[in-house]
Symmetry: none
Subunit: 412 residues, 2 copies
């Protein structure tokens, strides 16, 4: 038994909308412990929808459709399912009433188009839609389960929770859940980490799988269990082993971010921080204040985009700016010291670099960023890194802000 998600709509194929429904349903299937191996997207075309149904029935036993339930001639989902199974459609009187009431609430009359939305294949059950006019259906047909939902995410989600989840539970699903912990690492590449934990990739319970994204590497540790508590017990020995292997390169799990981890340590220690930003233009401050309650430790900062501001507000020396250049270890350090003193915080971070695409030279290429960190003890550290001249302005800025947080994390 496994489920397949089938999203119907030409707007997805044209790239006009992002298919977030598939992600939501995928997460929900994992919560219920229902295996899910395929997702398909197809446009508003009867023959192609038939092809997709045929393929899905060959390999999956629960077919979950979203989209194509509207009142226009483009909306073909119900009709395609009924005709595939050569089943007559019948008009559901309660749906008609419900649609009429919804139109009346908006001070309008039901259009003849909407009559179509009341048709369902003989034998199927209606899944009521509390907010929109498009109901879905639930049909047990030839050992398969077919569920349809409208494409509007808020309607689909509510109907899923109200109707599909209880129904699937009566079928025995949800007694075992798929539980995962996403472990997050920084300062180590995907392949190096994979090599260190290579012996864990063959485990079958829990399973361990690596992922890479910008600025971090992840390991997903997953298991099947009766409930989250039992699952945590199963995965704990493995997550502990991984933490021991990775050391400081492991920084958190699940919804942890570098900013939340750094914030938690600062809060525990009762220490405060301020930032002086050039190339990131406020992005590091924005990352830190993205965390609820960050006002406890983040006091503020100075965005010193121009050299005048670096000198005037942060006390960076004009001589050093001329000699070393604005993008230098010296200036990053002076920015960190300057902002720490000016704002009276325990820690100060300075960040200066060339985000590009212009402004690079042979000795100082696009992507070169210096990070300075000043402490209450009067110490000051700096780090220079090149984030790659062809990674684009966005990534140079994003990765250097992440890196500043990671350097501070290791220091804390």
């Amino acid at each position: 038994m496994s489920a397949e998600i089938i999203c119907i709509g030409t707007e997805i194929l044209l790239g006009d909308i992002l298919n977030s429904n598939a992600q939501y349903l995928a997460q929900e299937l994992a919560k219920l412990g229902i295996p899910h191996y395929y997702q398909t997207v197809v446009g508003d075309n009867l023959n192609r929808i038939h092809h997709v149904i045929k393929t899905a029935l060959e390999r999956s036993s629960i077919l979950i459709f979203t989209g194509g339930l509207g009142p226009t001639p483009d909306d073909l989902t119900t009709e395609a399912i009924a005709s595939y199974f050569q089943t007559k459609m019948i008009e559901d009187g309660e749906i008609i009433e419900d649609i009429k009431i919804k139109f009346a609430h908006r001070g309008r009359e039901m259009t003849p188009n909407n009559r179509k939305q009341a048709l369902i294949p003989q034998g199927a059950l209606v899944l009521p839609n509390k907010t929109g006019t498009a109901p879905g259906m639930m049909w047990e047909k030839e050992d398969k389960i077919i569920l349809t939902f409208p494409g509007v995410p808020s309607e689909m989600k509510q109907m899923w929770q109200d109707t599909a989840v209880p129904f699937l539970k009566t079928k025995g699903w949800g007694q075992e859940i798929i539980y995962s912990q996403m472990m997050r690492f920084r300062g180590i590449g995907e392949s190096s980490l994979a090599q260190k934990v290579n012996h864990l990739f063959d485990l079958t319970n829990p399973t361990v799988a690596p992922y890479a994204s910008h600025g971090e590497v992840k390991l997903r540790v997953s298991t099947k269990a009766k409930n989250p508590e039992e699952a945590r017990k199963i995965i704990q020995p493995i997550t502990e082993e991984i933490k021991a292997i990775a050391g400081q390169d492991y920084f958190g799990s699940d919804s942890d971010t570098l900013a939340s981890v750094v914030g938690n340590i600062l809060k525990q220690k009762g220490e405060t921080i301020s930032v002086a930003e050039s190339c990131t233009g406020g992005g590091l401050g924005a990352m830190l204040t993205d965390i609820e309650g960050s006002s406890e430790y983040f006091m503020g900062g100075i965005i010193a985009y121009s050299n005048e501001v670096k000198m005037k507000l942060l006390g960076v020396s004009e001589d050093d700016l001329n000699k070393e250049g604005a993008v230098s270890a010296m200036v990053a350090e002076q920015m960190a010291i300057g902002v720490r003193e000016k704002l009276g915080t325990d820690w100060g971070i300075g960040i200066t670099g060339i985000a590009g695409p212009g402004g690079g030279t042979e000795s100082k290429p696009v992507g070169l960023v210096y990070i300075g960190i000043a402490s209450a003890k009067g110490e000051v550290f700096s780090y220079g890194d090149t984030y790659g001249s062809n990674r684009g302005r966005y990534l140079v800025r994003y990765l250097s802000a992440c890196n500043a947080l990671d350097k501070l994390r290791r220091m804390l």
Copy 2:
């Protein structure tokens, strides 16, 4: 001839990541005029990938794969394609060299795992990956075209543009393109705008369709044409009509953002700007400096998260902070004036609010944000808006930064 997008990765099936690659590729196929009827997602499993390849070959002639090109045993895309076609894999010496160089740049050594990434089926061409270690391939096999890309979006996009687009053009694609202009509006709701341009929704060439997203409403004006110039001629009368109807609510098209539009006006006028941020914590500065060349008009700013910083660095009056509160029109105005004077710019923006989830009161609920704007003429304006207490911290911060830019845009 039609294309199918096949995304490989168990992380998509578990709902861990949103499949944004499929949307990007769908848009790109539309630009080239390549029909595209199906998208499939499958996990890291050899048999299932084979099933997907078989199905796709039955109905599509261009197969575009993303994901599964990494160095770990989970990464099966290339191997699955080669074994499906019973073709030997050979190691590409140039890829090995390239990976070694990339590791050396980061001060690391290539791991044995990465050798796997140099294997491609005999007869296929390598698609070089400028930034990552995972190259893709392009393989013309039995009248089909097979293209593979890594799952990391930035790498995939660059490789698509650098290699796949020119290749597909040599195959005759791109002679008739689907051309769209996405017109962007702010300060008007989707249904109000739709009502104003209702008569345009029935057009067949060009077509006009509405979209809504956070902080803006969009109209997509599309046509088919031989080239962008011809397309622009077809859509121009309609876009001009829409601009006339929308007035100041229209702010730009396609890749224009509020920050780029404001930046362009400032550059033209030779004026400069600085920002004083409380609740956005640097996000407004980050938005402004996200634009290349923003150093011409953006001098910097002060992130005044704590009240002390508001007083000490921006000269906000302690009396007013106590009387009116940090989240008030008065304080927003003083922040704008303070940063403008301190940084010596033509314009100063101040922004202070309650991003939540904590910190709200009955008279000042979560989501309340004040924006102050100070001009070189000595004028100062302020605006208070509530962004909804249930929209979450991220949206309150994002929308209020957008709103500050929009207020300034209308003033400029």
